[in-house]
């Protein structure tokens, strides 16, 4: 096991940020912490990277205890905080060199590991980090977190505020790093990124709701989701919420996701009901379950 977390709790002034969190991450696994803002993801990261002491529970990273062996952990993990935290007034190259030096290594020594990523920002190596675009900044931060060839990589919301193309590229990079044997713990508020992880933990209000692979989570979901569309969206939502056997209704892209709790549910009945409520251009079909649907249901 690369990361073992056992019953970790942390409170800030009596407000519980995380409550008895436990999970394990296998070696070489890409593990995702999925949850909305304020769920406690960053607190978990800060605890595992030895920046924060938990009130209760214990955790080990790469076989080291986060409290006792914090020095060893700092040598063997890479951490990329959610907020860009490199020196904005140093250039790309200077930042990378600085972090290499304080980890007691050189850029050349671990160049293989960062080559794929660094090559993309190399044209800007004399530019100050503060003047880079969002996507470039993320790449540089990832390089700096990798420069000492860490065993475990912690990425706290690495794709927040990054454009869709760069996000996709970023996840491809993570997949490649994973192949090199690095364990990656990543957090994200984006549900579409969850399916890219090997296993995910769904977190809300400081507690883990579910841990499994994204496929299993979807497979184990026993309810049927209907994608419903009509001309007047707002009217449609209101009407669906009034339907006697409704279980949940929420907007999802161009459709409304509707779940029914009756075993005898028939989409034609629903169609008639909606027509009676003066909805037009109604379209009802069975949709694919996504992580977001599961999350909304939890």
């Amino acid at each position: 096991m690369s990361i073992i977390v056992q019953n970790i709790s942390k409170s800030y002034n009596k407000i519980k940020a995380i409550d008895a969190i436990s999970f394990e991450v296998k070696e070489g696994e890409l593990f995702g912490l999925i949850g909305p803002d304020g769920a406690g993801k960053t607190t978990i990261f800060r605890t595992l990277t030895t920046l924060l002491l938990a009130n209760e529970g214990s955790a080990t990273v790469a076989g080291f205890d986060v409290v006792k062996d914090y020095v060893a952990i700092r040598n063997s993990v890479g951490y990329m905080p959610g907020k860009f935290s490199l020196y904005q007034d140093l250039t790309v190259e200077e930042n990378l060199k600085f972090f290499a030096t304080i980890f007691g290594t050189t850029i050349e020594e671990n160049y293989d590991l960062i080559k794929d990523i660094y090559i993309q920002i190399e044209p800007f190596k004399t530019r100050r980090a503060g003047a880079l675009s969002g996507g470039m900044k993320q790449k540089l931060a990832l390089c700096c977190a990798l420069i000492h060839a860490p065993k475990v990589l912690f990425l706290d919301e690495p794709t927040t505020g990054v454009d869709p193309v760069s996000r996709k590229e970023f996840w491809e990079m993570l997949k490649r790093l994973q192949k090199k044997g690095i364990t990656i713990l990543v957090s994200t508020p984006y549900m579409d990124e969850a399916v890219l992880c090997d296993r995910i933990a769904l977190i809300q209000k400081g507690s883990i709701l579910k841990i499994d692979s994204p496929e299993n989570i979807i497979k184990k979901y026993d309810k049927v989701i209907y994608n419903i569309k009509a001309k007047n969206r707002h009217q449609l939502i209101l009407d669906l919420k009034k339907y006697p056997s409704q279980y949940s209704v929420f907007a999802f892209g161009e459709f409304i996701h509707y779940i029914d709790n009756s075993s005898t549910f028939n989409s034609i009945d629903l169609q008639h009901y909606l027509e009676k409520q003066n909805n037009t251009e109604i379209e009802i079909k069975i949709g694919n379950t996504t992580i977001e649907d599961v999350f909304m249901d939890l």
């Binding site: 600085f98 972090f99 304080i102």
Partner: protein
């Protein structure tokens, strides 16, 4: 060691790239030294003087001409009544009113005794005291001259007037040049303020930018980081001292009687104290703004209680005891002693060891309060 050197290099890069701070670091101290040293004067000059001459005699005109001749007094106006003069005092147009009574000359010659009335605006008590001395000096001089003349009128019973002349000798600053006294003090103030402000805002800046979090997950040691961060400001402090001493010598011709090496040696230890204070402030604040306010609070307190502007000897005993905690006090004392009196190490050993003690104590607290883990 390599790590420390690298942090120092990084720190210098950041200082020289900060286009907003650079002029503040290098130009401001010079401007301040040049302006403050010329402006922060204890000399009372251009006293706003007015008079009411009710006598209109030779003697009264001569007395007034004495005031006119003095460079300390600026004759604003003459008034015909005390009431009018008092009104001008109220409006702030004049600060001193000399009233020469009727029959001034007659009384002086006949009865050998005449009265003058002097009113002084004493809102600034210290200035009023000095003005009073100047006025008394002029009147005494006038008095002696009149007496001499009087005696000369009756030649038959001429007696040599007894004159006691006092010739003071002013040690260590024989021309009483206040700049000689002020420039070393202001230099202390600049070195202190600049290093205190810059160091107190430095680590907190990393906190604000989030870079401290990234640094904290690295295996870097506390002492490496702290030394690496503060060393550049230690160097800057010494650079400012060098520039300041050069200006003091070249522009203000302040004598440097003692050993320059001793000044540097003391300053290098003193700077550790200031950097330690800066670091403690930095550790305990979350934003640069907070750090700035706390630094200001201490800087103002330290400066006003340092003996730079007001002598420590004239403070109440409890305040004198508080100044013992003030590092600037020792620096002001030592730099004046070394520069103007030519003090050697044995003369300044007592304040010197106080500063060494503070340097160790404060830096100990600073490193201890710097936390990598919350």
């Amino acid at each position: 060691m390599k790590t420390i050197l690298f942090i120092i290099q990084k720190e210098f890069r950041q200082i020289f790239r900060n286009k907003g701070m650079l002029p503040i670091i290098f130009v401001l101290p010079l401007v301040q030294l040049l302006i403050l040293s010329n402006a922060a004067s204890f000399e009372i000059k251009n006293i706003k003087f007015s008079y009411i001459d009710n006598d209109h005699s030779v003697a009264s005109r001569e007395l007034i001409s004495k005031f006119q001749a003095s460079s300390y007094f600026k004759i604003i106006d003459s008034y015909s009544s005390k009431k009018e003069a008092d009104f001008q005092m109220e409006t702030g147009k004049v600060n001193v009113i000399l009233e020469i009574p009727n029959h001034f000359e007659r009384d002086l010659i006949k009865e050998n005794d005449a009265n003058l009335s002097v009113s002084i605006n004493a809102i600034d008590g210290a200035a009023a005291g000095v003005e009073n001395v100047y006025i008394s000096q002029i009147i005494t001089g006038f008095n002696q001259k009149v007496q001499t003349q009087l005696y000369q009128y009756n030649k038959d019973n001429y007696v040599q007037p007894i004159n006691i002349v006092m010739i003071p000798s002013f040690w260590y600053n024989n021309t009483l040049n206040y700049k000689t006294f002020m420039v070393p003090g202001i230099l202390v103030l600049l070195v202190t303020m600049l290093t205190l402000f810059l160091s107190s805002m430095n680590i907190v800046r990393e906190k604000e930018m989030g870079t401290l979090e990234q640094i904290n997950v690295t295996p870097i040691r506390k002492y490496q980081f702290v030394i690496g961060k503060l060393f550049p400001f230690w160097v800057l402090g010494l650079v400012i001292l060098t520039v300041g001493l050069t200006i003091a010598r070249v522009v203000f011709s302040v004598p440097i009687l003692g050993s320059v090496a001793l000044i540097y040696f003391f300053t290098s230890i003193y700077l550790l104290v200031i950097l330690g204070i800066g670091l403690i402030i930095s550790n305990n604040s979350d934003t640069q703004q907070q750090a700035m306010f706390i630094s200001w609070f201490f800087a103002v307190l330290f400066i006003l209680m340092s003996g730079l502007f007001t002598p420590i000897e004239s403070m109440p005993i409890w305040a004198q005891n508080i100044t013992l905690l003030n590092p600037i006090r020792y620096f002001v004392e030592i730099i004046r002693m070394v520069m103007l009196k030519g003090a050697t190490f044995s003369d300044i050993s007592e304040p010197f060891f106080m500063i060494v003690f503070y340097a160790i104590a404060l830096n100990g607290i600073a490193v201890w309060t710097y936390k990598k883990v919350n």
